[in-house]
């Protein structure tokens, strides 16, 4: 058998190896992306309570920047920006809820007592200090 034939009959050509490598890298990259996106989904959730009842859940990790009214209590509006949420344009006497500003870390809360609305962050992402509750 000549060298030429050997080359032709070779099971793997150099070129094939290259293809395999490229495909392997692509598939690995796809997996990594899949894993990352899997982890991110549902990682940080804002729970909105009205009168003690959970009325709305928002996945902050995937939420678009937006403003919205709360159906159950129209005195209250929220703004979502860069994975964080805050009270805006609230109709109440003290506006304490708006003073809280944007929240987006585990266990953070903002309350609008006059309107009986409460938003709480639930996150499986550990924050720096990992606090369960704030007293004060």
């Amino acid at each position: 058998m000549s060298r030429e034939e050997m080359k032709k009959r070779a099971f793997f050509k150099k070129k094939d190896l290259l293809y395999i490598l490229i495909l392997l890298i692509i598939s690995l990259l796809l997996f990594m992306m899949m894993k990352i996106s899997q982890q991110k989904a549902g990682e940080t959730v804002a729970e909105i309570y009205y009168d003690g009842q959970l009325v709305k859940t928002i996945d902050l990790s995937n939420a678009k920047n937006q403003q919205f009214h709360l159906e159950q209590q129209t005195n209250v509006s929220f703004e979502i920006k860069n994975g964080k949420i805050r009270f805006v344009n609230t109709i109440c006497k003290d506006k304490l809820c708006e003073k809280v500003g944007f929240i987006g870390e585990s266990n953070q809360v903002a309350v609008c007592l006059p309107n009986k609305v409460y938003v709480k962050i639930n996150s499986n992402k550990k924050s720096n200090h990992d606090i369960d509750i704030v007293v004060g």
Binding site: F11, D16, Y19, I20, L23, L24, S27, L28, F31, M34, K35, Q38, Y49, D51, G52, K93, K99, V100, G101, I103, E105, Q108, V109, A110, V111, L113, K116, Y118, H129, D130, I131, D132, I133, V134, V135, G136
Partner: protein, 361 residues
């Protein structure tokens, strides 16, 4: 030749599929949840209610969490009915509206109301008037909880201050009845009711066999019971008096304790560039200016922590230093310069937020 090429491609694809499968397996294996622990994990029940003009949030780890939290909500609604300053049929409203009427006998009250008033009078005496349960005429004058708080005139404050005197509360132990002896006097249990509510909540949890719970009443009083189901401690952030409501000046581990904080930031209004907060000094009739920005007290008794945090806030640094190392309670006080005063016995349970400029002294 053509067939061979096709065959080679098929083999290549097959190999790729195998690689695909193996990497899928590895990924799944890596991302697999940790195996479930052998003991059954109890799901926490999280319940929020607006009660006594504030928010009650209960986190209870128990099989019967739903029933227990409902029970506690009802219990506190009843307490509110008896002790509210704003409900016309409450014990407190009846006592206040009959203040100074000599023809009226002491008002019979519910046992919780009686206990609260009796304790509050004792505390008023014990604190030498730093804390006075009959401060209500002053708080009402300033309208701090109303829509339009105002800075009253000197004369107005002087006039109302003359009505503030816990010694003029008559307590009839036998009949569980209370009377205010001077006209226009008024009681407001707001400064101790939330802490006392935590005592009632703890008793109810214990009675129901709850061994793990974290419950906050208005954010200013917190009940911490046991540990989380995974055995780790609940971590309690002490609010940063100079930051927002989610910022902290330090972190505390307090197992089976009630923690209460009084701070100038809770409720306030601004007038002509000056800030007026809601904790009034019974000696002056003005918001307390003691150089402290917040006082936190940790103890087994919620009524005590709620009272002491207020009294020490008004009393200032000297009062805090005097009470710093007591057997029955611990104290964390923060002054306006971010110095943190802390009882020796809880030093090891407290992590100060030095990155924000807070420092232990």
């Amino acid at each position: 030749m053509q067939r061979k090429k096709v065959f080679n491609w098929l083999i290549t694809i097959l190999i790729l599929l195998v690689i695909f499968g193996v990497s899928l397996g590895i990924t799944l294996l890596l991302s697999k949840e940790p195996p479930p622990p052998t003991t059954k994990v109890v799901q926490g029940v999280n319940k929020q209610d607006t009660l006594m003009d504030t928010l009650l949030t209960q986190l209870v780890y128990s099989e019967d969490g739903k029933v227990i939290t409902e029970k506690v909500t009802k219990l506190l609604a009843t307490l509110e009915d008896h002790t509210s300053l704003y409900k016309s049929q409450s014990d407190i409203s009846k006592i206040n509206s009959n203040a100074g009427l000599s023809e009226v006998k002491p008002i019979k009250v519910n046992s919780d109301t009686f206990y609260l008033i009796k304790k509050a009078k004792e505390y008023s005496k014990q604190s030498d008037g730093l804390f006075d349960i009959s401060i209500a005429p002053i708080t009402i004058l300033w309208g701090i909880t109303s829509e339009h708080p105002t800075v009253p005139s000197e004369e107005q404050i002087k006039e109302k201050l003359s009505l503030v005197n816990y010694k003029k509360i008559t307590i009839d132990e036998k009949n569980k009845a209370v009377k205010l002896t001077a006209p226009y006097m008024a009681l407001d249990l707001g400064a101790i009711a939330k802490g006392y509510a935590c005592d009632l909540i703890r008793d109810e949890y214990e009675k129901s066999g709850v061994s793990s719970a974290l419950t906050s009443f208005g954010g200013s009083s917190i009940l911490s019971m046991g540990t989380k189901p995974d055995g780790s401690d609940f971590s309690i952030g002490i609010r940063d008096p100079f930051g927002g409501s989610n910022d902290t000046a330090g972190t505390l581990i307090a197992r089976n304790k009630i923690v209460s904080t009084s701070g100038a930031y809770e409720r306030y209004f601004e007038k002509d560039g000056k800030r007026y907060h809601h904790i009034f000094d019974p000696r002056t009739g003005y918001p307390a200016e003691s150089g402290l920005s917040s006082v936190t007290v940790i103890s087994d008794s919620g009524i005590l922590t709620d009272y002491l945090s207020t009294a020490l806030f008004i009393g200032g640094k000297e009062a805090v230093i005097k009470q710093l190392n007591n057997d029955d309670y611990s104290v964390i006080a923060i002054d306006n310069e971010k110095n943190v005063y802390i009882s020796d016995k809880i030093k090891s349970n407290f992590t100060v937020a030095s990155d924000k400029g807070f420092k232990l002294v």
